[in-house]
Symmetry: C2
Subunit: 209 residues, 2 copies
């Protein structure tokens, strides 16, 4: 990004704080901002009619939380909310659009974001349709290890309910599978502290159930 672009983007930027649980983007509404996460963590999820939701991904600092349907109607196909207290920076959507149109250097990055999102959707979809509960939980933990906490040991920043929504199943079933995995010494879980003891096995379960 050039200095000029940077200026345009951040000239009248606003910083905002979100409390844990607070909604950031609401599915079905339009937004005039891109929201760049500075600290904390957000979840991006698809809302159903009943008050359930399905978590697509967890977003960490220094990424845009989501991108509205730009060059269309600026609507949001998903909701987002903070999972822990977070701070973010609002970027004007019009400014963002003109930067995208302004230089071809920025297009590949935008397209990559869309690719990523589609890949994520495909994964989540196959998960829910083809895999049993064990495989879905295994998959969720592999996601946490490989793409969220980047370590086999971590402190969960999300609740069991969120974990359930990430795996696309009920909280109760999630608890039961978690107990199974503890029993089989695949995971060590004490409260929010998690250690993946047998990643190979987790991968096997994620694949074959």
């Amino acid at each position: 990004m050039t200095d000029k672009e940077y200026d345009l983007l951040y000239s009248n930027k606003k910083e905002v704080d979100y409390k844990a649980g607070e909604t950031i983007y609401k599915q079905g509404t339009e937004s005039k901002y891109l929201i760049f996460l500075l600290s904390g963590m957000a979840k991006v999820y698809v809302e159903g009619d009943n008050n359930k939701n399905f978590i697509l991904e967890l977003v960490k600092p220094f990424q845009f939380i989501d991108i509205p349907s730009i060059f269309d109607n600026d609507m949001l196909y998903r909701s987002s909310s903070a999972v822990v207290d977070s701070r973010a920076c609002l970027v004007d959507l019009q400014a963002f659009k003109s930067i995208i149109l302004g230089s071809k250097n920025n297009i590949p990055r935008l397209v990559k974001h869309f690719n990523h999102m589609q890949n994520r959707y495909s994964n989540r979809l196959t998960n829910v349709i083809y895999k049993n509960m064990e495989a879905r939980i295994a998959d969720a933990f592999l996601y946490l290890v490989n793409e969220v906490y980047f370590s086999r040991e971590f402190t969960l920043t999300i609740s069991r309910t969120d974990l359930a929504n990430l795996a696309g199943m009920s909280r109760e079933s999630t608890s039961r599978i978690l107990s199974e995995f503890k029993e089989q010494e695949i995971l060590k879980i004490v409260g929010k502290k998690v250690e993946v003891l047998d990643k190979k096995q987790l991968e096997h379960i994620a694949r074959f159930g």
Copy 2:
């Protein structure tokens, strides 16, 4: 699109025929082509481990069937195949990329495609997770009426198995729901001929199950 762009795109174009059932794109592979459908119909679907698949959308002539993850690794996140005998035109992916980078006029259109795809994914996902079989079948028929055949009366170009995969359920269950809907005079179905008798009711079922 300018004439120059048009020339670049179609200079060494190739036309190809696909038999019904034939695979066009294979999930997990890369492709050097964009494939533009000239006649017939294609299904775009996500493959699971077991030989099941979930249909994301049906593509009709004069649209690109799918777009590989350009500016990334040109991989496909989905598979596609012809549902009836079809003819398509292969467009070189490199040429397409340079056109996208060449003029800002083409960016909004590309971005809209991504937006559409994401919207589609969100819908399909909510469908499978939150809705019961009746609602999913109702939803599938509304999709066929509103976005595929553009009429309350049409001749199905897909099998019951495809219909099941579009609704994300088993072929047998699909048959049973179809019989229910015939019984309740919501649909009139004779072989491949379909008439939606009560669209309001269909919409209600799609919403509330």
